[in-house]
Symmetry: C2
Amino acid sequence: MTATGSLVRERAAAARAAARTLARASTAVKNAALERIAALLEERAAAILEANARDLAYAEAQGLDAAFVDRLTLTPERIRQMAADVRNVASLPDPVGEMFDVRTLPNGLLIGRRRVPLGVIAAIYEARPNVTIDIASLCLKSGNACVLRGGKEAVNSNRALGEVVQAALESAGLPPSAVEVITDPDRAHIDELLQANDLIDMVVPRGGKGLIDYVRAHATMPVVAHGDAVVHIYVDEFADLEMALRVTENAKTQRYSVCNAVDTLLVHAGIAPRFLPALARQWAGRVTLIADDRALAILGPFVSEGLALERATEETWRTEHLALRCGVRIVDTLEEAIAHIERYGSHHTDAILTEHYGRAMQFVEEVDSAAVFVNASTRFTDGAQFGLGAEIGISTDKVHARGPMALRELTSYKWTIFGNGQVRT
Amino acid sequence: MTATGSLVRERAAAARAAARTLARASTAVKNAALERIAALLEERAAAILEANARDLAYAEAQGLDAAFVDRLTLTPERIRQMAADVRNVASLPDPVGEMFDVRTLPNGLLIGRRRVPLGVIAAIYEARPNVTIDIASLCLKSGNACVLRGGKEAVNSNRALGEVVQAALESAGLPPSAVEVITDPDRAHIDELLQANDLIDMVVPRGGKGLIDYVRAHATMPVVAHGDAVVHIYVDEFADLEMALRVTENAKTQRYSVCNAVDTLLVHAGIAPRFLPALARQWAGRVTLIADDRALAILGPFVSEGLALERATEETWRTEHLALRCGVRIVDTLEEAIAHIERYGSHHTDAILTEHYGRAMQFVEEVDSAAVFVNASTRFTDGAQFGLGAEIGISTDKVHARGPMALRELTSYKWTIFGNGQVRT
């Protein structure tokens, strides 16, 4: 099917119409749709994998890199995980209707904020097909309709997943248009979506700087972006050496193709002579280090033991690697580390490893990122890991939502006031 | 002084630089600056009134309407009120550093959201000079710098008020550039501010649809708008008649030039024959009614008793009067009232007057406005009245903040996670 521009607008209009129904759907009905999505993912796993195989064949023919292919790949286990994630969303409390900040004013007015869906969410994202299911299930649970435009490399996977979601909506008695998956790769659709502020309440772009900048410049509705993530770990002079090796190992290698994997290690000069040789032995043959001159001096001898080592450039510090590559720079002070993060970072996730209380607290105070860790792996920046159930993305913006965006971040509220004839004097 | 475009950008850059200091300023220092603003407002009252008199003379020479002149006017009492409002902001809890949603995850990570300032807020607004002080004091308390661009008719008042604020900042040891008041009336400054997304984190336009649409189309940073307010009261068949007269009186006449004054009364046909004659007697000689044909039939006889009466057009229902004028329409059902509000309203403030529990709850459920009242005056939609201390505006948007925007609505948060070596498995 080739959707023309006006067809995309029609599908956004269909989502808008469905949003009114979805906003009032009961928790039970929404959960029934979610349970059905999970069941259909499992029932149709073979067909989904077959669709995904076509996308993978295309990606390999195009010579796309390993990290990209990893993000695009579905496996039986990943499909089982998607289904489990959807069941998990079904198990979460429904945010719609929740009252908060409720109190009685001195004049007797009972006032509170009542959570309501935003309306229609548009998402524009890249390779990972599971994002389609994550966003659809979180929007559904929070009473929002959505228009999803995934990467052109994932069209077959996304079409199969969109069919699962629409079939599940229908079987639960909800309008299938509540989740519109746009699989036509024409980029003009993005422009048309960004113009439709009468139909779409918020757009969430997920991707590189080019995509985010483009969406910000052209969107006529609020944008909450899931942007670049140049992630830092500062290994302080007072870090526990064993913990530092374990946490950096996890932050780089547990899954390297995702946004919360570490990109740059900032190592205090006081611990570098002990930490870097141990790191070199740990990563020899596995992770390429891209080091500044001071770190090179320590790391150089380990090349003969199989360490892949490169010399850093200014560009290194601005790079989100999404690969088994990691920048290393030696700093003389905490302040120098913080200044580096401020200058080169993307305010996504940054961590300090230290046993020094004052330095830990100063790092937390002064590093202005969506997630700031003390003595833990950066890989935890994730809606499920944070106990939010799931996420539609990780906001690198400050307005509306920051960090993992889960159910609450997909709602607004209305002030609700119960009186008995009060007037203002 | 004539600021050129690049000077405006320089002033925004100065605000950006000041924001870093302000974000870390202690509550005591910020409160000292606020107390000093209040004291200087009182000390310099004569000079401020003199500046305001020049603005008023200009407005009268331009033949601007009474509602506009009312909003522009400062009096000794209004200046005292401004000082009292600033002292009230000083007395409010500092939102910065507040931790919320704090919990310990099963893996032992201690996680929470920590409130942080947004950075630099730009506000673009119209006549009322007290808005300059309201926004400056709320931004200061919440650790944000701001760039304020008031109406061209209020330049003398705003310049005098801006000098008060900058003197107070300086005396508290804070950078005066934390509050930049742009008084040059050149409209090109607005375009330049809207392009400066490297310097400004959020823009808050306050005004009519023309201004809001312009800002949305041209802003490159998040917009939270204080837009039109076509405010409805639905007088249900089961309303308490005496309460309905008292609440509508208050909602229209207590201060008619403000956004939360009522614009349209939707009157159930079952109560119209009792309510409208009583309303006609109450408002004869004071408030002009603009009525649909069915209401005209009831109200017509009261013209001889001094009632000013006009026939409504389609345009009536879309009008924010800001004057002693009020639309009146008879409806046959609650659903018809809700459909009218959905079609013509601006989702700002709407009220139902009824003693019928089910209808009250249906109205609250189905009317999707920033503030929804049962049996109380719409005039309460206000940050101070809601117990928030004050407001920089009333958001008619759904993203980030809705309804009165006070201290909390001027903040973001960062996720802060304390671990002891946790890694992701």
